[in-house]
Symmetry: C2
Subunit: 138 residues, 2 copies
């Protein structure tokens, strides 16, 4: 994730301890934390960081395109650092576990003109649902 920090610095981001910590927390594959979870982990590294700063920083990362907002359950938004590799999500209906997945094919092409209602369609977001191995065997 240090390349992320480099990219951000290059874009004129002022580098602060708080931003560094948020970026560190949001590292890895299959990471989908809520803002509160990010805050909790950030506090462990930098006790005085505030909720407002976590929200601000997440919002900035999202609008810079470095982090994706996903809302797979209907509760809090989750933040996905895997923004540079397009993907969809597979969610366990029981425990909420989330994996990043890459289906084959091009779902955009599967929407016929007759189903576009004159819209200019530019993007599609897919959420697969099912049971994870643990919940399926329980």
């Amino acid at each position: 994730m240090s390349d992320l920090l480099e990219r951000l610095r290059g874009r004129g981001w002022r580098m602060t301890a708080q931003r560094r910590v948020v970026a560190e927390v949001l590292d890895g594959e299959h990471v989908h934390l809520t803002a509160d979870e990010v805050h909790a982990r950030a506090v462990a590294k930098l006790p005085e960081i505030s909720r407002a700063t976590v929200y601000n920083t997440l919002g900035e990362l999202v609008s810079l395109g470095e982090v994706l907002e996903v809302s797979t359950d209907k509760r809090a938004k989750r933040y996905d650092p895997n923004a540079h590799r397009p993907h969809h999500h597979l969610v366990c209906a029981r425990c909420g576990a989330i994996r990043d997945v890459r289906p084959i094919g091009n779902p955009l092409a599967d929407l016929p003109d007759s189903e576009r209602f004159g819209f200019t369609v530019s993007d599609v977001e897919m959420t697969y649902r099912g049971l994870c191995p643990d919940c399926a065997s329980a």
Copy 2:
């Protein structure tokens, strides 16, 4: 939607003025109201109906499978009465307009085993995004 009321009565639902009004409000194609919108329209027909009852009734309709919960924007949940005709959604990124759409193909089959992480996948939910004709021309 009177067939809905019949079905519900058949399932042992006690029929009240409030439930009838909520069911009436949720009638039609391409209807995707928030709970508050449902409440506002219900109040127009039955001034003393409470927010709690609207939430209760919507929740029951969802768990009976008569109404779908969709969260296309990241704000309030929306309720979609078009539950018996499987479909996905096309959302205007600017104004939030929503249409029901039916893509061709079977997206479930497009998730290879190697991308299933041992999950039992049973369902997929797709949200197309773009600009509606009005917003595209503005």
